[in-house]
């Protein structure tokens, strides 16, 4: 599973990143590039559906969704926890 690529696909469906999700670097700040609060909530819900995980309360913040790398790390951790 290529988590970063899956995240780019999900981002592509967000208004702020339509047509440019493939050009995002792993460390680009998604908020600086136009992701807003409601957009980050939609992103969170889409990630949960795609990876079949549930973000715990302590991860429901801007930092967890600030970049593709941050999201990848959070999702990887959750997937490992689900498998354990």
């Amino acid at each position: 599973m290529n988590i970063a690529q899956d995240i780019r696909e999900i981002l592509a469906s967000n208004e702020a990143f339509a047509g440019k999700a493939d050009q995002l670097a792993d460390d680009d700040s998604l908020f600086d590039m136009g992701l807003d609060s409601f957009g980050s909530v939609q992103l969170m819900l889409a990630l949960e559906e795609r990876f079949n995980v549930e973000f715990p309360d302590e991860l429901l913040n801007r930092k967890s969704f600030s970049s593709i790398r941050a999201i990848s790390e959070a999702v990887s951790t959750l997937i490992r926890q689900e498998a354990a």
Binding site: D36, S37, F38, S40, V41, N61, R62
Partner: protein, 318 residues
């Protein structure tokens, strides 16, 4: 800024004795609030209203030098404007919509029969183009945006409206229909943040002059559901909302009487509201819960206005 500070030193709040009359009961017994049979929906006495009106005038005096443009809207707003505002994203559970009968003569007879038999009669009610105003500033944004780009100095508005939130409660401070006074600033981030800062100071001084113990705390709106947890966490982390809290129902859960909100470009983007240079406008507002401040005064100074401290009476009616 997080500590409770009391003008009298130690905070004293008379807790109701177990099983005794609650603060709400006492407000009813003294005739200050009037029962309607619905929790959170009350009539107000002349004495209660005299405090609300004095507060409204006091807030006008404090803001007078700023030259805000006064606008008053009825407590209903356009449904298309409400839908575009994004309120449903965060607070679908609090919204109140206005529905009306749209049937014919037969439908009318059916309604009357249902009422007569105690059955649900609302099936033929249809949504109108009016929604109850959820916050005093919501009708303002489309009106301001329709005027075109802001002037270089931005704009400042003065609003007051009854607002509706569907949250029935036995806490007198959580009414379903209540009045909110607001000043709303539109302009650059620097302009709107300076506005919010000035009202944090003025609002604190106003409440101290009214002899109320208070604390300023970072806060979040009551966003709905799990997605709302994330919105609330983000709002707090970014310091977008502060509340001025006064213990009314309890010391542990004080009541937000004023709020100071920085919306960033949320309403500017939503309504295509532009600054003079064409960039998206930022907005901020300070909101005063007129019933809540009145209830805080009644709680701390007693239910008889004539017995309130001289300084407080002077601040309100002097």
């Amino acid at each position: 800024m997080d500590s409770i500070s009391s003008p009298q030193g130690d905070l004293i709040l008379d807790e109701e004795p177990q099983g005794g009359p609650t603060f709400l009961d006492r407000l009813f017994d003294h005739g200050l609030l009037i029962r309607t049979g619905v929790d959170g929906l009350y009539g107000r006495s002349g004495a209660f209203e005299s405090v609300v009106e004095a507060l409204d005038r006091l807030i006008s005096r404090l803001g007078a030098a700023d030259g805000a443009e006064v606008m008053r809207f009825p407590p209903g707003m356009s449904r298309p404007a409400f839908e575009r505002s994004g309120y449903l994203k965060g607070f679908p559970n609090l919204a109140g919509t206005v529905h009306s009968f749209c049937g014919d003569g037969a439908g009318h007879a059916e309604i009357l029969a249902c009422v007569e038999e105690g059955r649900d009669w609302t099936g033929q009610q249809e949504a109108t183009d009016i929604v109850l105003t959820p916050a005093a500033c919501y009708p303002l944004y489309p009106v301001a945006a329709a005027r075109g780009a802001l002037p270089a100095e931005g704009r400042l508005f003065d609003l007051q409206s009854y607002c509706f939130r569907r949250e029935p409660s036995l806490e007198p401070t959580r009414m379903q229909l209540f009045r909110m006074r607001e000043y709303v600033r539109m302009g650059s981030p620097e302009q709107v943040l300076a506005f919010r800062e000035s009202w944090l100071e003025r609002g604190t001084a106003m409440m101290r002059d009214l002899g109320l113990p208070l604390a300023i705390d970072v806060a979040n709106d009551p966003f709905f559901g799990r997605a709302g947890r994330m919105l609330a966490n983000n709002q707090r982390a970014q310091g977008l909302k502060f509340e001025l809290n006064v213990p009314v129902n309890s010391v542990e859960k004080p009541t937000a009487c004023l709020s100071f909100n920085y919306h960033q470009d949320h309403f500017g983007s939503t309504w295509a509201l532009r600054q003079a240079d064409g960039s998206v406008a930022h907005t901020a507002c300070v909101g005063f819960g007129l019933e809540r401040i009145t209830l805080a005064l009644l709680k701390h100074h007693g239910l008889d206005r004539a017995a309130w401290p001289e300084a407080v009476r002077d601040a309100l009616w002097g």
